[in-house]
Symmetry: C3
């Protein structure tokens, strides 16, 4: 059964990689990049957050360098986006947002747990989980010479951080790891979806 | 007594982190970022130089990932800047420049020494000290989609490099480590302050 | 004799570093950076791709941090470009392109081989070879707040990737390492030169 759980987690991880890969490739098209640029942005969006986390916690080579399935998945997403861009564009925006929130929750939870496994302090593990969730999109925006969207408004990184904190706290008060992961992931997902639906933003100071 | 020196160094390091954190958070406000963007830029400005140095010398996880006090200090700086931005703006520019020069000297010296401790060649240790001093501001500018200011003009990275070189040379000629650190830090600080006061710039070629 | 081969390889590597250093320094001048900016861009263009590869495969400290000759070569290239920019500008564009293609081939092949040595999966090793070849120019463009040129059009990263794949495949079918390196490097070089001469581009979708 443990084996099946491992397989299910890998499948979920690859599904998240595929989804984020499509988003990265679509951003590359909007940025007027070529096919190779689409592959690089699919890779960055889907995997760079985890690569940064792994470098920072000392898990080297990073998981997505050791296991070729991740890059193959991101590249497949890029190539499919290249050939079926019309279908990607026609995809309902709300459904995409909900799926993206699911991917964010998954990455934030998995990132926090991996940092804890490597003996990182819980406060920093929550940060590393957030980086896992939003680092890829941040690096994608830097490649496109934009200010990263997550720094500007939107409850996105905040949702990832909130989910990571909930995971940490529920573990601390003695909940079993699976329950803590579900609570953290659910909190991240719900906060992202509700904040988008109700147009919540973080406060900002007029510069 | 050794213990007290260690404590004093940590206090100085955290004071530098706090100051650079305020500068990063203020840059985030000028760049129209939200509260989370302020926290990320406070973190980057104050700590990313040291993180890059630690990754390059193989000190993993980096100090500011292992010790949560650094990130907590940077985040506190961001939150205080959020609530008291008017006070931050009213802060005398000259005093800020002098304090900033002090932080730069501290980071450049500490970075050079840590690289030497890890057995890095002195020539490269001076570079790594410079990266420790200016890397954070460089990454902050990249997040803001600007060309990093330190690459454009100003005696800033040059002051850090000069201080690091002085530290290396005074050690080589047999000065005790503390004297070498003071000489290097003093040189960096003085060069930065004098260069700003007299509007010195590095030479440039019309492109 | 083995010793001589090692020496020849180091010489080739340093020659590539010097050439890419000049290109980086010239880009810094066009970007209106000062002398220090020229040194940083010479360093980045010539060496950052290899630094990223070494961080990702766990070869820490990276080769160009351990061995001061690389940075010294890049800095020399920057200083010479500063003093002799007119000569750099007068350099025939076609010859520069051919030399650059040689440097790209060298870096892509060396990067792929190093990744293989560190036990990285061949598919990922080909990617890491590509990163070695084009990562420096990518980071240079990010410093200049441009979208990296290799993502936009041109057969450049594609040539590096093709060379890396040829190296991997010829090794797999049993060719001796030297023959595989020559086949891979030759393929990268030829593809780059022919693609430039005939204005080949990768396909792109109107965004």
């Amino acid at each position: 059964m443990k084996h099946d759980v491992g397989k299910a987690l890998l499948a979920a991880d690859l599904a998240g990689t595929f989804l984020f890969g499509i988003e990265g490739a679509a951003a590359a098209i909007r940025g007027n990049l070529d096919l190779l640029g689409m592959m690089v942005l699919a890779f960055s969006t889907a995997l760079a957050g985890g690569v940064v986390r792994d470098l920072l916690i000392g898990a080297v080579p990073p998981e997505s360098i050791k296991n070729w399935r991740y890059v193959a998945t991101a590249f497949t997403a890029a190539v499919l986006t290249f050939f079926f861009y019309r279908m990607v564009q026609a995809f309902p925006a709300t459904l995409l947002m909900v799926l993206d929130a699911g991917g964010l929750a998954l990455f934030a939870v998995a990132g926090t747990e991996k940092a804890l496994e490597y003996g990182i302090h819980p406060f920093m593990a929550a940060l590393l989980g957030t980086i896992t969730g939003v680092g890829g999109g941040t690096i994608r925006d830097i490649f496109l010479a934009h200010v990263p969207r997550v720094l500007q408004s939107d409850i996105y990184a905040t949702a990832a951080l909130a989910g990571a904190v909930v995971l940490i706290v529920t573990r601390r008060i003695g909940a079993p790891p699976t329950a803590a992961a579900c609570a953290g992931g659910g909190c991240c997902f719900a906060l992202r979806v509700v904040a988008t639906a109700w147009h919540w933003n973080l406060p900002k100071i007029a510069g």
